[in-house]
């Protein structure tokens, strides 16, 4: 009895510490911009809209976490979001399938893209970064071909997921599924096992390649949901080419770093959600300041390094790669 109480207490204190750290980050990032630009930043309604905006990337990031925790990477995130959003929009609009078309189209496209990433990576046996960079070019071209070079716009009557409460509901469902998968299914256990030692995991009968492909599919599916939220929020999507979609990689990847940094506190998913919120506070803070984009990027880059350095306590002697 004492043991379980003790263990629960220990666990709680670890998680509590993690939450406290994240709340401090939220308060600091809010406080800095509130002091500099008190009039047009950081009111309660502003903070709510920053949070809403952060949900988009947070949904993609929780899916991407499955890939990253296994030690792989995906450079086709942006291309996937773009392709999924365009296919969802075409299904909903051009084929007249409405919300069902939007969600199913984007979700299926995201999953198929994830599956292709996983299969090419496993079969070609080359690093995931290279595979997904090559495939991103192909996905961009496909998206451009489907869109016919024209900006795809989602009609206003199909944009419920771009505002409250639709966006919150969809995001909560996505977070709940990710949490369930990670903590209450074999997929979660095997994800961590493969990330820890692939050879031992294989010897334990885990079909390593299958679970790697599955991780990419899960990631793709969540990026598909992110695509629904993105096009609903922004109302349209342009199919860019020449790796321009990579600019969309940045925010979900940053959120994922938060998840990895807070994994040791046993709370990667809340860390991703709050982490994306922090990133958005910084973004909107710069907008409120009217800072040039280049300055925004430099400071955001430094902010990311500082945040991850401060929150990731690497044990003495631990090798960091």
């Amino acid at each position: 009895m004492n043991t379980s109480v003790e263990t629960a207490g220990k666990k709680l204190s670890g998680q509590l510490k993690g939450y406290l750290l994240l709340i401090i980050l939220v308060v600091i990032s809010w406080g800095i911009f509130k002091i500099i630009t008190p009039d047009n930043f950081g009111s309660a309604s502003n903070m709510l809209s920053y949070f809403e905006a952060s949900l988009l990337a947070a949904v993609g990031a929780v899916g991407f976490y499955f890939v990253m925790v296994m030690g792989m990477f995906d450079f086709s995130i942006g291309a996937n979001i773009m392709l999924s959003a365009i296919v969802g929009c075409v299904f909903a609009n051009r084929f007249g399938l409405g919300y069902a078309g939007l969600i199913i189209g984007a979700l299926l496209t995201g999953s198929v893209v994830g599956m292709l990433n996983g299969m090419f990576y496993v079969k070609l046996r080359i690093p995931s970064m290279i595979v997904t960079t090559g495939l991103a070019l192909i996905y961009e071209s496909i998206a451009n071909f489907i869109a016919g070079g024209v900006e795809q716009t989602l009609p206003s009557d199909l944009r419920a997921f771009g505002q409250m409460p639709g966006n919150i509901i969809l995001a909560i469902i996505a977070f709940a599924i990710a949490y369930l998968l990670l903590n209450y299914t074999k997929v979660g256990t095997y994800t961590y096992a493969i990330g820890s030692n692939e050879f031992v995991a294989k010897n334990m009968g885990i079909k390593v390649n299958l679970y790697k492909i599955l991780a990419f599919i899960i990631s793709g599916a969540f990026l598909g949901i992110m695509a629904v939220l993105t096009i609903s929020y922004g109302s349209s999507m342009v199919a860019v080419t020449g790796m321009a979609s990579m600019t969309r990689n940045f925010v979900p990847t940053m959120g994922c770093f938060f998840g990895l940094a807070f994994k040791k506190y046993g709370m990667p998913i809340p860390a991703i959600i709050i982490g994306e919120f922090v990133i958005n506070i910084i973004f909107f803070g710069f907008i409120a300041l009217g800072a040039p984009t280049a300055i925004q990027d430099v400071i955001t880059g430094f902010a990311l390094l500082i945040i991850v350095t401060l929150t990731t306590k690497v044990a003495k002697g631990e090798i960091v790669k």
């Binding site: 299914t185 074999k186 961590y192 820890s196 031992v200 334990m204």
Partner: protein, 499 residues
């Protein structure tokens, strides 16, 4: 009903051109502890890894209770009633203790795809309690536990489902005296329940004490199966090596005076949580031993002297006044260190034998414009790998493909090649067979005579007694006694200061 549990029939296995097993055939009975012995690279681990599904044999068969078994991974082997505790670490970071115990067997806790973590933890608590390891908490992350505790968790993982055969591959060397006793207790329990233990160990007295039957392999070939009661240590050595193991094993001298010249002075060295206020001097041509229980702090001594400890306080000073505070300075001043944790701390596993041996000597091997010659590196690595009788195809072979003992030979070859003057050897004969042990002891003796100084850290008391000029005993991170070399010293005099 037949007493035979496992028939090994004409089993062969090759790695490239190296034939690790050649038509090996023998039987193993129910309710016995069956030891498998042989020199490094004799095929013991290859055979048991093939049985446990880690490797796939090339030909032959394993017949378990009359039925042929061909597991392709450890879980399939478990389902057939075979489990294994591997030589190195077999648990995974990032998972809890309970998740590690049931890894690959989660299905009994999964309903409609959802894993019942509470039930898994409850079952793990029950098992840990049954094994007497209550202090280990199922919901803790496994990385919170040390190497030895993780080995104990592996014992639970490998035996909780009452397998028909449990393979224990060179596990005892990773355990302290208490850990070994725990393992022996469970080996005896498995035998009493009518099941079988296949026990791999290089410690021949331990093999004779624990096993009922012993099978000997040599160079991948079956040599003989004998009853433990019918053979002694010398008989086993002869079977393993193929000839009488003659000549001295440990040092024979007892009256040689150690030089007064101090080559390394360690003053008031502390490492938080590990060692506290350690001071001693190492003399020229001296072998200074460190003994104690596994957690006594003795393993930190080597790291502290090599400049590899974190937050170390105090000083390590060489005879020329150089302070050793970091590894590059240590290597530059001719200090070598071999870690107990060979795979993680001494070897670059996915690199060749050549690269591993040449690593600290690259500056010496490069030409005037700092270019390296492939031929020169190969010759250098080849010379020292062969000096250590490393069983390999060539120095281009990956270190990860070598047996445990041969990996250790590569580590030693590296520092012999570097011609270091001070050697800090932590468990230098861990997982090493009798013949190579003898070679290493003789090498140490030769080095000592040529003026090199050695710190030997070991949990094997007999080798400390046999090889060292002085033995410092550690307890709870502090020095608890010092003994000078003498003929009458026995294990009990050391144990008295250890516990």
């Amino acid at each position: 009903m037949s007493d035979i549990r496992l028939q090994v029939k004409d089993v062969s296995k090759a790695f490239g051109i190296t034939k690790a097993l050649k038509d090996v055939s023998f039987n193993i009975n129910k309710g016995e502890i069956h030891a498998l012995i042989g020199e490094n690279g004799s095929g013991k681990s290859t055979l048991t890894n093939s049985l446990a599904g880690i490797y796939q044999k090339d030909s032959g068969s394993f017949i378990l209770d009359g039925k042929e078994v061909n597991p392709v991974n450890q879980v399939e082997a478990n389902n057939e009633g075979i489990s294994i505790i591997v030589q190195e670490l077999g648990t995974l970071d990032g998972l809890t203790v309970a998740e590690n115990i049931f890894l690959g067997h989660e299905d009994s806790f999964v309903k409609m795809g959802i894993k019942n973590t509470a039930a898994m933890n409850r079952k793990a608590t029950e098992l840990l309690k049954k094994y007497g390891f209550e202090r280990i908490k199922p919901s803790d992350m496994i990385e919170n536990y040390n190497f030895e505790d993780r080995k104990l968790i592996e014992i639970v993982k490998a035996t909780y489902f009452d397998p028909k055969i449990v393979v224990i591959d060179e596990t005892t060397t990773a355990l302290s005296r208490e850990g070994r006793e725990e393992l022996y207790k469970h080996m005896n329990r498995i035998r009493e329940e009518g099941n079988t233990v296949i026990f791999i160990s290089h410690d021949l007295p331990e093999v004779l004490k624990m096993s009922d039957t012993i099978t000997v392999l040599r160079d991948g070939v079956y040599i003989d199966t004998v009853k433990s009661a019918d053979i002694d240590e010398d008989g086993l050595k002869k079977l393993m090596v193929g000839r009488d193991v003659t000549g001295k094993y440990y040092r024979a001298d007892y009256d040689e005076k150690v030089s007064d010249e101090v080559v390394m002075k360690v003053e008031d060295v502390s490492v938080p949580g590990l060692i506290s206020h350690i001071s001693f001097e190492l003399h020229k041509g001296e072998i200074l031993g460190f003994g104690g229980l596994s957690e006594s702090g003795m393993h930190e001594i080597g790291k502290a002297c090599f400049g590899a400890s974190f937050d170390r306080e105090g000083s390590v000073t060489l005879s020329d006044g150089t302070q050793i505070n970091d590894i590059p300075t240590a290597i530059e001043h001719s200090i070598a260190y071999t870690s107990k944790d060979r795979d993680n701390e001494s070897l670059v596993m996915n690199q060749s034998i050549r690269d591993n041996i040449c690593l600290p000597s690259l500056d010496d091997l490069s030409n005037k414009v700092h270019m390296l010659s492939d031929k020169k590196l190969k010759e250098f690595a080849d010379l020292y790998a062969k000096k250590m009788s490393t069983k390999m195809q060539s120095v281009d072979q990956f270190v990860s493909n070598l047996s445990g003992g041969n990996k250790q030979k590569v580590v030693l070859a590296r520092w012999i090649g570097k011609d270091s003057d001070i050697l800090l050897l932590d468990s230098p004969t861990r997982g090493i067979d009798i013949k190579v042990k003898q070679d290493i002891y003789q090498l140490m003796d030769t080095m000592r005579k040529s003026g090199k100084s050695i710190i030997m850290i070991s949990e094997e008391l007999m080798e400390l007694i046999g090889m060292c000029d002085r033995i410092i005993i550690m307890k709870d991170g502090k020095i608890n006694g010092e003994l000078e070399r003498n003929k009458d010293m026995d294990e009990n005099s050391l144990i008295a200061k250890m516990v």
